[in-house]
Amino acid sequence: MYGKKVTSLLKSINADVMDRVRLSYGKVSLEGEVMPSTEANDPDVLIVKLDSGYNIGIDPGRYKAEKLASKPREIELPAAKLVRNKGLDDVSLIYTGGTIGSRVDYKTGAVHMLTKPEELLYEVPEISDIANVSIIPLLSIMSEDMSYVEWSKMAEAAAKELNGGARGVVFTHGTDIMHYSSAALSFMLRGLNAPVVFTGSQRSPDRGSSDAFMNLVCSLDVAAKSDIAEVGICMHHTSSDTACAFMRGTKVRKMHTSRRDTFRPINDKPIALIEHTGAIRYTSAYAKIDREGGERIKPLTGYDRKVALVKVFPGSDPSIIDFYREKGYNGLILEGTGLGHMPVTPTRKEDSWLPLVRDAVENGMVVGMASQCLYGRVNANVYRNLRLISGAGAIYCEDMTPETALVKLGWLLGNYGKDEARRMLNRNMVGEIKSRTGFDTFLV
């Protein structure tokens, strides 16, 4: 937003943002369009887009202003033509937001959500050769703003599309919490017999180098051609635009703030690699589509929001558990150190987490233990302290990531209650726990 200085100048010549103006002082004369001021700009600096394309920021006090023309008519993007091809399967592209669904206003630089998802097809026309794509604009939200509220909507939408005849579903999604969403839908879509693919982008599609294009194409390949009956994330396998990896939705995590190949399988291998040409290479075991199975998907979307993820760290104050108890929380996942440790016999006795965990469990809270190492399996037996913690009632969550454990706990509590949650937390349901960890699953 512009400050008073610029606003009054614009007002004095009856000009508005996007209007064409001339600014002059002495022999200097500039012409261009008034751009909006963003939160990054000095509000007292007027931003003008010159015909060369450059934006300039000038001190309005020095210039005499004159309005030349009003805002030009907006030019609409030509709509992508969706041509139905009888030889192709139906895939639903459910749009929820995120970088992959944002675009830059090329004049102002403002990033906003796509209001017409067809815009994406306009830039990736080849997707119409892969499947008959229906676009479902479900949400328009950055992933960091999402929660269980959206997960249930997404699960309902996926079930509706698949029950309605779609061969597969692709979600476009912000990347930050995509692995929470993929875990949630893995649990929620009971009776899944089709591929459900989450994809996004780390570079926005306004740039020619965006990863969105290949991610989208490979995701549609999985949805339209693979025989995978699981929820997963399909994003760049490496930094190169050569192949995407399809990774199990409960065993995947965003591991880099900005790289294209940020999503990595944790304690797992990718299910498949998808070449940019469309070839699918399966790389580990997975649930296959049952061609005979005609059952409908029954989304089970309950979720208890009173669950939290608590990180243990040196010097951490265990009374945080009391805080959650007082707030009425029903479940906690502790992100312990190493094999699943927390301070048990510290120098300051009051820093021990043990009595608080015991109290919490005795008072009905479900407490799970995962590891902040991320890679590997927690273990309740190797050290005495581990035995004490599990003895106090903490459930060791095997090789689950802390995020998946959290989502699973919320879902179990929301649908089955505490006893069942306690019983099922460390038992495999949809591939989130593996009884054996392959040697080649570390840092892949």
Partner: protein
Amino acid sequence: MDDDYYRKLGFRCGLEIHQRLDTAEKLFCSCSTEQDSAGIGKVYRMQRAVAGELGTIDKAARFEQGKGRRFEYNLYEDSTCLVDADEEPPHGLNIEALRVVLSLSSAMGMNVMGEIEPMRKNVVDGSDTSAFQRTMLIGFDGSISVNGRKIGIPSICLEEESCGIGRNYGEEIEYNVDRLGIPLIEIATSAEISSPQMAKEVALHIGMLLRLTGRVKRGLGTIRQDVNVSIADGARTELKGFQDVSMLDRFVENEVRRQRELADIAGLLKKAKASVGKAVDVTGVFEDTKAELVRKKLERGGRAVAFSLTGFAGLLGREVNPNRRLGSEISDYARAAGSGGIIHSDEDMAKYGISKEELASLRRKLGMRDGDSFILVAEKAGIAERAAEMARERAQHAIEGVPKETRVAVNDESCTSRFTRPLPGGSRMYPETDVRPIPVDKGMLDEAAKGAPDIGKEKKTLMSQLGDGNTVELLMGSPRLPLYRALSRTEGIDCRLVANVLLQKFTELARNGYRMDGVEDSKLVEIFAAYSRGAITKQAIDELLKAVSREGGLDIRSAITALGLQRITGKELSALISRFKRENKTGDVGQLKKAVMSKHRLNIDGEELNDLLA
């Protein structure tokens, strides 16, 4: 040809000078700006054209996408990071680079922005990993004075250098990412340059100003001059890629000639009611051909595509530049689509081995009438069709006049150029939202004004040091001026000797095959320091230069000993003279001097010897 001749043609010409800065870090990250030899891997990326700010896909961008190329990027140890690999948002702007641009802005009287707005300029030839170049306008509306003529400088920008190009495999291009992101200054002149000669003078003048900042890189490719040229009957053409600015005037002269010829051809074509036929697949005509060029392509599953031309007879072979014909201009377009070139009917068909029967069949297939011409492309399927379409587009344009193009120098001897891509449209820039706008305050501007390069003042200083106008001019035009300035500050240094070595000696040694471009400045500083403290003679400087040109990392102190270049002076020299007197049994000054110098030429200062013998 004088200014008047060019004025009558409606000659318009402006320059864009790009100069790489010698800052410690890149423009938007902390990588070194030294190009790196330690490769650490590669990434492969595809890039595509995206909708421009008006919702249209930029013409130049779409053209590059039409080529459907994959890019291979080489990454390096010290000079590439995630920012350069398009895997991390940019860091803050390099203020050191901004200061250099501000001081140049001050020297050219530019109006500097109160707040600098970083922008993204779409680039889809793969030379930027991000598919855009970060650039910002720093100042506008300044001027320079060249030989008494005022030339407007409408803009000065600070931007990121692109990747260096490695191998070009046609459908895949290799780029070196070490160069990407080095700060680059772009100075544009107004289009009021009135002759090719003047274009060269302006380029030289701006080069001088840049070097005076003392913060520019030196060596091949570190400064680039792009020239925009048009005549009234022609079209704006951007010429790029000269190796040597001293040839710039001849390139511009040739471009003017090319546009005149093409305008003339367009006139003739219009008169002849010329037209271009549709592209037709003529692979069948050449099924059993003996024409090697065509046969080889078809054997590998390629296609032959041709189209007819009416009213072009004789014109395809007409020369528009030394050794370049209208046919070459059309061929450039087919090449840009990935083909090896075209065959056209103004050429000798026997040369290709195309038979009369094939020719007749081709003519039938294209529905040609007497006097019609044709153009034929034989290439891999896909490329053949695209190349023929590009060639058709260019042939069609020949009837209308001169197309707007970006052209690159092909041959520095004949000073000719070829088409490389259509001239980019205007809708290629949008704000770089990953970087905050940069405020410029009065303190920065005052500091810039103090350090602003001043050609007049510099010439005066040089004159006082060198006392010779000719040497001053040569030095002002030399890329080694910043080095001279650094060396001239060494205590007790002989400035004339430094100038002489940097200007004459370097040229002489380079001519004799020594690789003087690779000699590091720090080595020269050491050599001159050794001379200044009396450790070596003037003659020894030559030997050390030769040695260091062969071995860049040479340790100068050790080399002096190893090559036996220690100066013999004072008592040691007196003793040597006495020994020579005894051994040669002579007191004759001339004979003694000859005898001593013939053995110790590199170790003895002639003047000192004369003094001792006197």
